[in-house]
């Protein structure tokens, strides 16, 4: 019934929000729509799986290490692919196309290395505990997801709002040239942002992997589509927007499946996307459509 659905929605929405955070961070600071974020998300899942399988690391450590690993991949992608395009001042559709190439490469490498079938975490990795309060059934995994996602989001918001680093990032988001002239190490912060965004994406990947216990090379694609819908819904480049948009999408999807039909689950994201683009393309919190040089 409704309360149970709300629990599911909260959990799903938190993951969407976490995924969208990394996505929107890269757009806000680097000005690029990184369509390889879905592949990074997927690799985060595999990383955690490998660390648990091969090195028998405890789950929390595997997750942290997976975040670091995906962060590094995100950084490498930035240095090898996005940085040369920055130097060239390429119009912003070009980096987006390049990240499509990265996504294809990473997805198919994963398929080649790990095979196309769904993989599962070794038995016993995922805590089975759950709590039943009255009619509500909440699993440890769901609690973990919501808690971890919210903690990461709050930390990110705090950094952005209250620290020198956050101010610098916001300055870059407004205008990289102006930030540079103010003495901000723009290039260094680009690297940091790419790392952090990818790490967040990897975290989302681990959480989803635990949640559904089905890891495949193709799990990034549908997630990417949802991420796109979320950041447009919430306003591109806006962190609150990503969080609220993600939760909103989670609720919308779960309620659609529960009360309308599960067939249209994936269409919900795009239906909302369309609607917002027609009504208010800048999204809930977005202000500016074109950013200054």
């Amino acid at each position: 019934m409704l309360e149970q659905q709300l629990i599911n929605a909260l959990s799903l929405g938190s993951v969407y929000a976490l995924f969208a955070l990394g996505f929107t961070l890269v757009f806000g600071v680097l000005g690029v729509i990184n369509l390889s974020h879905g592949a990074i998300f997927m690799l985060g899942s595999y990383a955690a799986l490998l660390l648990v399988e091969k090195l028998a690391l405890p789950l929390w450590l595997a997750m942290l290490a997976a975040m670091v690993a995906t962060g590094l991949i995100g950084l490498i992608v930035d240095v090898l692919v996005l940085k040369p395009l920055r130097k060239r001042n390429a119009p912003h559709l070009i980096p987006m196309i390049a990240t499509i190439g990265v996504a294809i490469m990473l997805t198919n490498l994963a398929q080649g290395l790990f095979g196309a079938e769904n993989k599962r975490f070794p038995v016993g990795t995922i805590p089975e505990d759950s709590v039943t309060i009255g009619n509500l059934h909440v699993t440890a995994v769901q609690v973990g997801i919501v808690v971890i996602a919210f903690v990461l989001m709050i930390v990110l918001l705090a950094v952005m709002r209250r620290t020198q680093l956050g101010r610098a990032l916001r300055a870059i988001a407004e205008s990289p040239k102006a930030a540079y002239l103010l003495g901000i190490n723009v290039e260094g912060l680009f690297y940091l942002t790419s790392f952090a965004a990818a790490a967040l994406g990897g975290a989302a990947g681990v959480l989803v992997g635990l949640s559904f216990n089905a890891i495949s090379p193709f799990m990034g694609q549908p997630m990417l589509h949802k991420g796109i819908a979320v950041i447009i819904l919430g306003g591109m480049g806006d962190i609150r927007g990503a969080m609220i948009g993600g939760l909103f999408l989670g609720f919308a999807e779960v309620l659609t499946v529960a009360y309308i039909s599960s067939d249209f689950r994936d269409a919900v994201a795009f239906g909302l996307l369309f609607l917002i683009l027609l009504v208010k393309p800048s999204g809930m919190f977005g202000k500016v459509l074109e950013r200054k040089a």
Binding site: I33, V81, P84, L85, R88, A90, H92, L93, I94, M96, I97, A98, I100, G101, V102, A103, I104, M105, L106, T107, N108, L109, Q111, G112, Q221, H225, I228, A229, I232, M236, D263, F264, D266, A267, F270, G271, L273, F274, L277, L278, P281, L289, E290
Partner: protein, 296 residues
């Protein structure tokens, strides 16, 4: 083995590849039209799908002749493009790309869930009606049409819009109208290509027209170069034949596709067929030759 026997064997094995070279050329041209107007549309795979399904249903269920199916396969996507183009083409650059991506996914989900389109199984047993001359004819018509448009005020309007919308508008160009025109033309070409493709592949399903396919089409055009009509055709030909060449890389050949896209974007931003770069290269060689002649 006689010549005839060799040819029959060759054709039996490779006819789909050769057909797909032609079809992919049309698809690459369909996205070229939109790019030439400054629009990045990721919806052309969806339009291809609409054309494929409509044409297949016409030949399979209504039993109507192939030319009619092909016509419908072009007209229907064009009408859909007209419908969704009007609200979405107001959006710029990235937002438009996302909107078209979203549209493509919506189409896929709808088709996935409709009974008449066979749901996730798609349509089986589409009659093999496509002949080589259909493809040659329609590709030829497409190229002729686009070449003529390019040389007219429409082509100039597209290019002006691509360079600077505001300036174009103040020169009297109806920007919204021309963008819609480019979008609709692209949709029609993609639709006909889809209809042709369906009738030599026997089976079509919703997964043939998703995001990956939209990306494939984009790759072919970007790889070949979008300065003129030749680029997309070269790009699509190379990338259609490449999988055959790379066949023994198996799973990694799709990864190679991704790598190609990255390398092209980084090192050959205007694609393989870039008349300016080629001309500059020729001029340098010429200068080099005459310089060495003088020295001697």
């Amino acid at each position: 083995m006689t010549m005839m026997e060799w040819w029959d064997g060759f054709w039996a094995t490779y006819n789909t590849v050769i057909f797909s070279v032609g079809v992919n050329a049309m698809l690459a041209l369909s996205i070229y039209v939109t790019l030439s107007c400054g629009l990045l549309s990721l919806a052309n795979a969806a339009f291809m799908g609409i054309g494929a399904y409509v044409a297949s249903l016409i030949t399979m269920q209504a039993g109507l002749p192939f030319p009619l199916a092909l016509l419908a396969g072009g007209v229907l996507p064009a009408l859909v493009a007209l419908l969704i183009g009007i609200p979405t083409l107001r959006l710029s650059g990235v937002y438009l790309a996302m909107a078209t991506l979203g549209f493509g996914e919506v189409v896929r989900v709808i088709v996935l869930n409709m009974e008449v389109t066979g749901g996730p199984m798609g349509l089986n047993g589409v009659p093999p009606l496509t002949e080589w001359w259909h493809i040659v004819l329609l590709l030829g018509v497409t190229v002729y049409f686009l070449a003529r448009v390019r040389r007219s005020k429409i082509g100039r309007a597209f290019e002006a819009i691509k360079e600077d919308e505001v300036a174009a508008r103040l020169m009297g160009v109806n920007v919204a109208g021309y963008k819609l025109l480019a979008f609709v033309i692209g949709a029609a070409i993609a639709g006909v290509a889809g209809a042709l493709n369906a009738h030599y592949t026997f089976t079509i399903g919703p997964n043939n027209y998703g995001f990956e396919n939209a990306v494939d089409i984009l790759t072919m055009a970007v790889f070949g170069g979008t300065s003129n009509l030749i680029g997309p055709m070269i790009g699509s030909t190379i990338l259609s034949l490449l999988p055959e060449v790379l066949r023994h890389f198996k799973d990694f050949r799709l990864a190679a596709n991704g790598l190609i896209l990255i390398l092209v974007v980084l090192y050959l931003p205007k694609g393989i067929w870039d008349p300016r770069r080629i001309r500059a290269f020729m001029q340098r060689r010429h200068a080099g030759k005459s310089a060495s002649k003088k020295v001697n």
